[in-house]
């Protein structure tokens, strides 16, 4: 009897969570976040008051950068670590398909990165509250959208890990994540300045990764009102569709791949 995909994913994800807690990398990140937020707020001691927006800006910049880097690092090593340690053999010796393993590793990465992000965001939120800087309800939407983005990014990176070495994967993934906003701008400029057709722009835009669209931090910093819920629904569908496509591409390669 083959083991269900849910069972495979759940088992792998639970182990991933245990590792996250025991590796203690998360604690280092938490300390860094606290230092940066407290550091930003410390200028009030030197007579520079009213820097609430600046402190929020620093806090969300820190969360954004650290959570993205963490997500990429966590997801990029899921499969390669198993191959390097040769623990891929006892895993695949079980009656599970390679597709189940890939999906399970994605879920593991998502749980590890998602928990790390929630920790970071929660710490920053608590610190800001302590400093007398409350956040508006849009913060809840920010969390949800960011988690969708993390899930999507995990799918991209896990899929790339089947094709690339870990170092190449991490480099490319970080470029795609941090540069996604810039790619979009360049396409728009190409359309306005060079006359590239709108259809061409839309096709290219659809193909490019859009990690920047999962980030609503600037709206939180400047206390904008919450966005309509259809926006989150649309981004959820996008994450599901393109993330699913990335995992499918990863599976197509993994099923025939020589492991170890």
């Amino acid at each position: 009897m083959r083991v269900s995909t849910w069972q495979v994913c759940r088992s792998l994800a639970m182990v991933g969570l245990l590792e996250t807690v025991r590796r203690k990398d998360l604690y280092v990140v938490l300390i860094l976040t606290m230092l940066m937020v407290l550091g930003a707020s410390a200028f009030r001691i030197f007579g520079v008051s009213g820097l609430e927006i600046f402190v929020k800006d620093v806090a969300f910049l820190t969360i954004g950068v650290l959570s993205t880097v963490l997500t990429v690092l966590i997801a990029a090593r899921q499969l390669p670590d198993e191959v390097q340690r040769r623990t891929i053999y006892p895993l695949l010796a079980r009656p599970i398909a390679r597709g189940q393993l890939l999906f399970g590793k994605w879920l593991t990465a998502f749980v590890m990165a998602g928990v790390s992000f929630v920790f970071l965001a929660g710490t920053a939120y608590a610190l800001l509250l302590l400093l007398g800087i409350p956040l508006k309800p849009i913060f809840g939407q920010y969390l949800l959208l960011k988690l969708l983005g993390i899930g999507w990014l995990c799918a991209l990176v896990v899929a790339l890990s089947v094709y690339l070495t870990p170092a190449a994967n991490i480099t490319l993934s970080l470029i795609l994540a941090f540069g996604s906003g810039l790619f979009g701008r360049l396409l728009l400029m190409a359309h306005w300045e060079r006359g590239v057709s709108a259809l061409g722009i839309n096709w290219l835009y659809g193909v490019l990764p859009h990690y920047d669209l999962f980030d609503m931090s600037q709206k939180v910093v400047y206390d904008w009102s919450p966005v309509p819920w259809w926006v989150l629904g649309a981004m959820g569908l996008y994450a599901l569709a393109s993330g699913g496509l990335y995992l499918l591409l990863g599976w197509l390669r993994l099923r025939k791949q020589v492991l170890g």
């Binding site: 040769r86 891929i88 895993l91």
Partner: protein, 252 residues
């Protein structure tokens, strides 16, 4: 029923700018249910590549491999199989208990059944006192014992073991031998590779010798003992003769 069937198996590794390296060359053999078969060969003979193809880690370039009638690459084929890799470093941040639980859940076990099996197996391989110690604090020998334990999880009817005695002290080897005999008594089939010919002689019904990816000899222990002083003599002579025979084939 045949536990293992291999027909004209070819395994090649692609090399950049060079012709592919053929690790297994038209290999054919069978293992019946209930047998203990030793799979021998010098370093680089193709043992591990054969075992990887049997376990589905390496899709064959040509030919086929089956486990209990199922294609080796299918997940169903591995339901009844326990596998011990040559070297395995289990997750350093898990304990033996957690490692076994992971593999047991992936085997389809859960709850009290799984818990009972884990405790019994860790006891049987002699690392029960360390079952809640992190893997990174265990010695190589203990990790090898953990590997044996995880290979025995579930309703295992076929054990495939690669370099089974590696890292074990003499006491551990004796315990392993007893464990494997107990499994065999239960009706399990055992297919293993090892350089410890003494272990092979103590356990096996039959040996297969592979050289340069080809099967060059296949004899029962009784046939071997009637013609050779020891298994070691048989092995060296066969490999040498096998080399001579290959050279003649190439010349022809």
């Amino acid at each position: 029923m045949l536990a293992i069937e291999v027909h004209d198996l070819v395994v090649e590794y692609r090399q950049p700018l060079r012709p592919p390296l053929r690790a297994v060359d038209r290999l054919s053999f069978c293992v019946r249910e209930g047998e203990i078969v030793g799979f021998l060969g010098v370093n680089g003979a193709g043992k591990s590549s054969t075992i990887k193809a049997l376990m589905g880690f390496q899709p064959p370039t040509a030919g086929e491999a089956r486990l209990f009638g199922q294609p080796a690459t299918s997940a169903l084929a591995r339901q009844l199989v326990g596998f011990l890799p040559e070297t395995a470093l289990y997750s350093p941040y898990l304990t033996p208990y957690e490692t076994m639980r992971l593999y047991g859940e992936l085997q389809g076990l859960r709850g009290r059944t799984l818990h009972a099996q884990i405790e019994a197996l860790l006891e049987a391989v002699g690392i029960a006192p360390k079952m809640h110690t992190l893997n990174r604090q265990l010695s190589k020998g203990m990790l090898q014992r953990l590997g044996i334990a995880q290979a025995l999880l579930g309703d295992t009817r076929l054990l495939i073991l690669d370099e089974v005695s590696s890292g074990l002290d003499p006491v551990g080897r004796r315990e392993l031998r007893d464990l494997l005999k107990a499994q065999h008594a239960r009706g399990a089939t055992i297919f293993f590779s090892s350089h410890e010919l003494g272990e092979v002689a103590n356990l096996c019904d039959r040996v297969l010798i592979i050289h340069r990816g080809r099967l060059i000899a296949e004899h029962t222990l009784s046939e071997i003992s009637s013609r050779f002083e020891s298994l070691e003599d048989y092995f060296i002579c066969t490999v040498q003769h096998g080399v001579d025979a290959l050279l003649e084939e190439v010349a022809a």
